[in-house]
Symmetry: C2
Subunit: 873 residues, 2 copies
């Protein structure tokens, strides 16, 4: 097999399918050449040769001949000669592996220059400044890439350049004269001699071989190895070397350079979009010294070239069947395309382009579905902080509930509610929220807390309402009584404007422009295609009829998790709940529960109506009872008065219920086993509601879910209570409805004994939030001090609470699915942790053979699209 692959003059030995051998860049250059796109000619030395070289430490004997032959083809195509004293050919040398490794790209430009060829270039272009600036850049890049010169106190080349500019009293590189640059060439050569202990090679061929070897060696450099480790790229791929003729957009007024997208990357409008600069090269665009012109103006400058360019845009887009992001240079009216790659775009553009391209016959619907990143759909559904807006971030907290909100800071719930009523936009700021703040949270646009984690009251309630929330912003020092907070030297008083970015956890001072959500028809069309291909059902986590209805608008096919406890936090209910907790006897508890029963039943009727025809999974009471009681002294005093019990007694109850590790404490089915009357009341509320809805013509499919089961006997106990209660309700009402009793799988023990549990459970629903906490032994609320460190050091590159830890938690899930289905082959299995709305986790659920995923309402479209993509892959 050959080691060197030429491209140029409309012909190439390689193509886009040869990324293994040519690397991504080399394969792409070959592909473009074959398409008749005018790419500066060149050749690629294969990745295999890299591997062989790194093993043996030398090149095969045949390589020199191959490279020289390839160089001759480049010379022929360009009509110039490498190392010639007249019209010299200059080349670039670049690395390029199979996978893009940003920041790992070794690049040497202008290779082939020495004092003779530089002089020839100066004469030819009539621009000595250009020639010697190119020369000094070559030495600088070569010194860095080939000799590894970096200096212990900053880049010595840059120091020398700065010294000359100081000396000449100028600020910009471009203001240096040709003589200054020629002198700098001498200085740079001195630096090479001093730092590398050898002379910069005058011979262009010696330059070339040095560069090739350096690129190959870079594959085993520290930075590259580290990068591959973090990104799981194998070490045995090697990199290719691309040697390509240099072209220059800065040699005349009919030369120039530019970048363009084949369609508008913000809106998706089908028009070439970009900008160009006359008599300039790429770095001038970057330097921003002159303002580039929009691409449409190219027609006024060089109409033929503009037309030719637009033709290539169409060719490349049609060939790659996707939006392309192009770099081009015009050298004396001759157009060169330097690079093409898939164009990055906003979600809005991605959706429009995908739908348009189907209409244009460029791609089919399956491909369109695969073209949009599900994770980005959030942008279409929530208000976002305008990415172009300049903002002052004063603190960061946890991204507890996505979206963005602008409003005036208000420090208590009552005032938040009254201000909101009078039409004011409000951000509720609290140290932490409690059930007493519920009305203020409902009235506010967004919520900011300084304490608590992703599962704190504020976070959970805000997500349930689909309301923006930044929680646990620890630096924010909230003085609730004084109605202000301080953070990093900034003080925010009540009434000051704040912007919250709940998607990123940012706290911003002032009013910031928000981008409002606008899904549109293209989005609906794309989602309808997605629904044809997915096998996973998508449900939602919703606690109220309103949430359920909204989720249904987003395409939810039922409720996977209805958390009954949130129903207990409102108004009268919290009072009855507290009475129950303070009751000394089963009788007292039953009395308080009897008050809650009609309220719960009414909620459930509303939810069944909203989900007419779809299954609704309702989880029995889960949180520890102390979450329903206040903790602070003043709150306890106040509550004691309200409930007419002594402060002493209430405090004793609060103390007794306090737990060292509430996550692993008296909660979930452990409550229902200790207080069967709670389970009975909830089962009764669910089944009475089901009967009522059924009577009203609603199609109901209730699924009662027992939380935190670790042992089959726990489930047997609770399922028995639910089924007995159901029979009693059916007798009383003279009407039966079908229902299921199943369990959350959220404890490792449940996973390894799933075969036992499946003998009692009619469905499993993975609670991967808690399963992640227990499997990893990590409290989500306390992980803030070490998880970021773990991500930074590559120990756990991803937040396991965002994306399912497949090797650990995923293994548990897999085990439970296998054991559960072995015992009960038709077992219905879903997931209702927040991972249900994470695309990669959804894909995992598909591969494990789950029946459905369930996620918050706004994430339903994300899950639908992700489910379709994995089914299509």
């Amino acid at each position: 097999m050959a080691d060197v692959y030429s491209f140029g003059n409309g012909q190439a030995n390689g193509n886009a399918g040869m990324k293994d051998i040519l690397g991504g860049k080399g394969a792409n250059l070959a592909e473009m050449t074959n398409l008749g796109v005018p790419v500066p000619p060149g050749f690629t030395i294969s990745t295999q040769l890299c591997i062989a070289y790194l093993e043996k430490g030398e090149f095969p004997a045949t390589l020199r001949g191959e490279v020289e032959a390839a160089m001759q083809r480049v010379e022929a195509a360009m009509g110039r000669r490498f190392a010639a004293d007249v019209e010299p050919l200059l080349v670039s040398v670049r690395s390029g592996g199979k996978f893009s490794m940003p920041g790992m790209m070794e690049t040497i430009l202008n290779l082939g220059l020495n004092h003779r060829t530089a002089r020839a270039l100066a004469d030819e272009s009539g621009n000595a400044r250009f020639a010697f600036d190119s020369y000094r850049r070559l030495i600088q890049m070569y010194g860095s890439v080939v000799y590894g010169i970096s200096g212990t106190t900053g880049d010595p080349f840059e120091h020398a350049l700065e010294a000359v500019k100081r000396d000449r009293g100028v600020e910009r590189d471009i203001d240096l004269a040709a003589e200054d640059l020629e002198a700098l060439v001498g200085t740079f050569k001195e630096i090479v001699r001093r730092e590398a202990g050898r002379d910069f090679p005058d011979d262009p061929w010696e330059q070339l071989w040095g560069a090739i070897e350096a690129v190959f060696r870079s594959w085993n450099g520290r930075r590259a190895v580290d990068y591959r480790r973090v990104h799981h790229i194998p070490d045995d791929l090697g990199t290719a070397v691309n040697v390509q003729a240099m072209v220059f957009g800065n040699v005349s007024e009919d030369s120039g350079t530019g970048v363009a997208f084949t369609r508008n990357p913000s809106t998706g409008t089908p028009e070439v979009f970009g900008e160009f600069l006359v008599n300039a090269q790429g770095e001038d665009v970057v330097a921003g010294i002159r303002d580039p012109q929009p691409i449409a103006k190219m027609r006024d400058w060089l109409p033929e070239v503009a037309e030719e360019f637009e033709g290539y845009c169409r060719t490349l887009e049609a060939h790659y069947t996707d939006v392309q992001d192009l770099e081009f240079t015009v050298e004396r009216r001759k157009l060169y395309i330097l690079q093409t790659r898939t164009g990055k775009r906003t979600t809005r553009a991605a959706v429009r382009v995908a739908v348009d391209m189907v209409a244009e016959g460029l791609i089919d619907e399956r491909t369109a579905v695969l073209r949009v990143d599900p994770a980005q759909l959030d942008q279409l559904l929530h208000p976002m902080v305008d990415p172009d807006a300049e903002v002052t971030v004063i603190a960061r907290g946890l991204p507890a509930s996505p979206g963005a909100a602008v409003g005036r800071a208000i420090f208590d719930a009552d005032r938040a509610a009254s201000q909101a009523e009078s039409g004011e936009a409000v951000i509720l700021v609290r140290r932490e929220t409690s059930p007493d703040d519920f009305h203020g949270m409902a009235a506010a646009r967004g919520i900011l807390t300084s304490r608590g984690g992703m599962t704190s009251h504020a976070a959970v309630v805000a997500r349930g309402m689909g309301k923006c929330c930044v929680a646990g912003a620890k630096e924010v020092d909230v003085h609730e009584l004084e109605r202000r907070f301080e953070v990093n030297g900034v003080t925010v008083e009540e009434g000051d404007w704040l912007t919250l970015d709940g998607s990123a956890g940012r706290v911003i001072v002032g009013q910031t422009e928000l981008v409002e959500p606008a899904p549109g028809d293209d989005f609906l069309r794309l989602m309808s295609w997605a629904d044809q291909y997915r096998r996973l059902r998508v449900r939602t986590n919703a606690d109220t009829p309103g949430d359920a209805a909204r989720a249904r608008d987003y395409g939810a096919e039922g409720i996977g998790l209805c958390r009954t406890e949130h129903m207990f936090f409102e108004g009268d209910r919290i009072r009855s709940m507290r009475e129950m907790i303070l009751a000394n006897s089963e009788g007292g508890r039953r009395k308080a529960l009897a008050k809650l029963l009609p309220m719960q039943r009414e909620d459930f009727v509303g939810i069944f109506r909203a989900m007419d025809g779809f299954p609704v999974t309702i989880r029995l009471l889960d949180p520890p009872l102390h979450e329903f009681l206040p903790r602070e002294d003043d709150e306890i005093t106040e509550l004691a008065a309200t409930l007419d019990v002594s402060v002493e007694r209430l405090r004793r109850t609060v103390d007794t219920l306090a737990e060292t590790n509430p996550m692993l404490g008296h909660r979930g089915c452990r409550l229902g086993i200790a207080y069967p009357e709670i389970t009975e009341m909830q089962a009764r509320a669910i089944l009475e509601a089901a009967c009522e809805a059924d009577e009203a013509g609603v199609e109901v499919h209730p699924e009662v879910m027992v939380p935190l089961v670790g042992h089959v006997e726990e489930l047997r106990h609770q399922a028995g209570l639910v089924r007995e209660t159901a029979e009693a309700v059916f007798r009383e009402r003279g009407r039966r409805v079908d229902f299921l009793v199943g369990t959350m799988i959220e404890i490792p023990r449940a996973c390894v004994t799933a075969h036992e549990i499946a003998q009692v459970a009619e469905f499993f629903s993975f609670g991967t939030n808690d399963l992640t906490q227990t499997t990893l032994g990590i409290s989500r609320d306390d992980a803030g001090r070490f998880l970021p460190l773990y991500a930074a050091r590559g120990i756990l590159p991803e937040d396991p609470f965002q994306t399912l830890d497949q090797a650990g938690v995923g293994r548990m899930v897999q085990m439970a699915v296998e054991l559960g289905r072995r015992a009960s082959p038709k077992l219905k299995i879903g997931i209702c942790g927040e991972h249900g709305g994470d695309p990669r986790s959804v894909a995992f659920c598909h591969r494990q053979g789950l029946n459905y995923v369930s996620c918050s309402p706004f994430r339903v479209p994300i899950a639908r699209l992700a489910a379709a993509q994995v089914a299509l892959e």
Copy 2:
């Protein structure tokens, strides 16, 4: 196959091997008969017949003939006739399944009595009182067992009996006259008629068949079914029915009854031990109305019978090769053995008997090793509350550290230390302990706290010291400042005497007699036999040279867990530790750590010396840093002054470090990753100490253990630091020692990714305390509110923190062993959770192929014996 098995007159159809068919009791009666022991004759109806009867609801046609034939054999042996009006034969009817089900035994005595036979019995014995008392007892038992008469307001038979006694003005049954009893027979029959709606059968045969059917039906009774569920006894075994001739010890002065052990059950002394009562039956012994005489006095009463009895004792003991517990009756000088069973004994007796029996040639050493219950060895090693002492238990807490202690209640550490110095026995009573109380704990005999769990500071430190502790006695209301506590109406002031029972969690007022530990030579001999057979090595959990030396005395073969953090709680060390926590920079932390280094090193040298020749596993810092800081306001103020920082700053640090679920928080290797300098200091202290000890001629085998690893990259990070530090130490000291780096396996994720972790770890040590917490999702400190309930309801019959939950946590262990050994076949694997000292858990570890178990010093003998037993099984 026959359904009825006779025994009597030296011959039986059954034997001890037929428990499946005859039940335990029936098989034993047959076995004794075959041995020539005089058992009252009788017959057993098989368990198979029970099953057949319960399935079909009727008896096979052949049964009646078989029973009548068997009854004739009994009549012949006794020289009496069943249902005869002269010298009538009475029988007992008893249930008896394969497994003993205490409290489930259905018993009817005196069956065969009616008005005629009762009169005959009265005439024959000349004791009408005896005859009618027997008769009324028959009706009472029959009414309960056959008709299920229990009454809604207490036993109606007892009510009637009480009424007669009231009427006659007597207190004891025995004071009623024959006429009263005869009248009572009539009343009892009335009760049967009223409650059961039928007449008590006069016909003895009808009585017999009713009794047999009732016994069979009892197998499916609610209580029996529940019992079997809890004790995992299959439902399809059935029960046998034993029909046996009645004999009476209360018919003359040359009659009597008694119980005896073939050896002394308290001491093991080889002498028949027991007591008897002349002219009495079994229930008279129970009633305690007359004082029984020691068995030795039998020789004075009826020398031939006594000699005969002793002969049977020898026969039975030799036959069963174990101490027997016998019941016997003498009826007119004729001796009957009613029952023999293995005699329960104290541990001291068990050890002596086992060793003696080997010397006597009765059993071999293997059998001796299997004869002692390892769980009971605790009795030999700790002081115990005298089981015969009458005590007033005022509260119960957690059995946090075993043993018992008597002392005066003292409410602060300083006074505890000074009182102890002046020779006073002290019990330190605190709400909870902190590192500041260490000196007081060290000085006290025992420790009582009202807060905290099995892993609280008090519990952990006390176990480390081998000191008795009752923790988390929630009812105890401690007023530290007022120097008293109140509990359930009792007030204990400072200086009052208290007794703590740390093995059972009992708090007792006053001075109680303690039984001092006395292992003795027999114990040592038995343990030496055990050591020959076990395959598991037994190490200890020890944090100090003193603990290590003590454990070695008990046979520990190394340290499986040395918790370095406990070293930080003492005196100066806690100060340096706190300086480290409060340092703002790595530099500040290193400065504080440098002060800790020499102290840690010195500890380790001592431990290596104590464990010369054995491996020592040292765990890196594990607890979250907030455990080293105070929590209460006054303590914070005091500490701020000591450390010369502002109260504000110290409080902020305390607040920042506080965690919602510390068990799942910033601890274990997560600390060492965040603060590598801590790991470096500890690795340095361990390896410098190893070099020093090695230089002094000590054979060292250090094993450095990284805690709380869930991901192989965590271990790679920490192991890298340890190995780099070791190389540095070896270079500095010019000396190398071999060492291992391994990890605790205590997170479910570590179990399912054990194949990855085993590529870096040189050993695994299961931390089954935390692995149980995470696998079950149960915080040990918070489990007190529901685990007892779970035990009571049979959901989790055993405390998973005492005995390893094999189906759940055990499955995790099994997975980790399999995956770990597959990746690294010679991987050394041990366990260092508290399960390492629990006999059933030790057996599990043996079966999983672990290399060693490690437990607290006092549990080392338990583990040695348990390991031998499982190897022998």
